[in-house]
Symmetry: C2
Subunit: 170 residues, 2 copies
DNA sequence: TCTACTGTCCTATTGTCATAGGACAGATTG
DNA sequence: CAATCTGTCCTATGACAATAGGACAGTAGA
């Protein structure tokens, strides 16, 4: 698992790390039981304070995504949210609604939206299938995890998106 | 269009207003050309500073969602984002990925996710159909717009979700 | 033109977030 | 036990976001 941070993105570093772990777990690049990098070395590698990494890990633990033990390290947990079913459903619907509304404003119709959703579901599932124990091909492929481009849900949009800004027209 | 703010949500008031307009536009509760409440009266009604409302409107204008004219007021624009196609696509995929990853962590499988997406697409489309000129049934229904429950993409999750928290198990 | 409405700009204050370093505590290894 | 890993807690600080009030500017209608 290779982490990286973008200081120009405007997004807090600790949230960048949180999302990288979340996405890695969802895509199968990280599997339950996997040991995450320990705080201090990772902080040094990324040139950030160790508390920034610690904050990310704390956040992940509070979301039930990792398990942490002083003296041992941090491990990816089995995928089970600490939230009850009703709350999980509510949380998910909120994200879906956000995507649906965004699709409307991005002038993407329902059919195309459904297609994109399918595409992204497959994108994550395909990666997971490729990392099941016993079916690994190239060990290095496990390192090639994908990271979110603009995980922040609020404007101002991130730098890499702004680079492609044009005043109007398609 | 009825606005309301939740001061306990932890989400900035101006963003709450932005999302309410976004969602109202996507659902058809607000239609192009519609006049939005003017800044001062709305601020007074919501018990917030006028600059808070003004900031929301500025944000909406920068996203190409409303048009504003000093001395006249703010109007909902025709739906056309100022971003180019590539950027719009990128932004949308980011939201979709966020939903897909959330689904994974909420232990919702691909089939159920697809079903939920369909459901929410229809939810917004059905409202839009009901507000097309010439097909209105109950005028009061136009005021009954839906507002997002937890549009914030980051923990801590909003108060209304926390109320339903339980330590574990479905 | 006068009044009353509209939105805009400038500046100040407040609070919180993100980050940082020092000191502490549990676990492992030799 | 000593050394060295691991994560944790406490406190401080800098920056920025969110909100607020005063003064200004464009528009409409009597």
């Amino acid at each position: 698992m290779v982490f990286h941070v973008d200081f120009k993105s405007g997004k807090p570093v600790y949230l960048q790390l949180v999302d990288q772990v979340r996405y890695a777990a969802a895509s199968g690049a990280l599997r339950p039981g996997d040991l995450l990098p320990s705080i201090r070395p990772l902080a040094e590698e990324l040139r950030v304070n160790r508390n920034t990494v610690a904050k990310a890990y704390t956040e992940l633990e509070s979301r039930g995504i990792i398990e942490t033990a002083a003296g041992k390290g941090c491990f990816l947990k089995e995928n089970d949210s600490p939230l009850n079913k009703q709350v999980r459903h509510k949380l998910l619907v909120a994200r879906i609604d956000e995507a649906v509304v965004t699709a409307y404003q991005m002038q993407v119709g329902p059919e195309v939206l459904r297609g994109l959703v399918d595409e992204r579901i497959q994108f994550f599932d395909r990666k997971k299938a490729g990392t099941q124990p016993g079916s690994e091909s190239d060990p290095q492929e496990k390192e090639q995890i994908w990271t979110p481009t603009n995980p922040s849900s609020t404007f101002p949009i991130s730098a890499d998106v702004m680079e492609n800004w044009t005043p109007s027209t398609d």
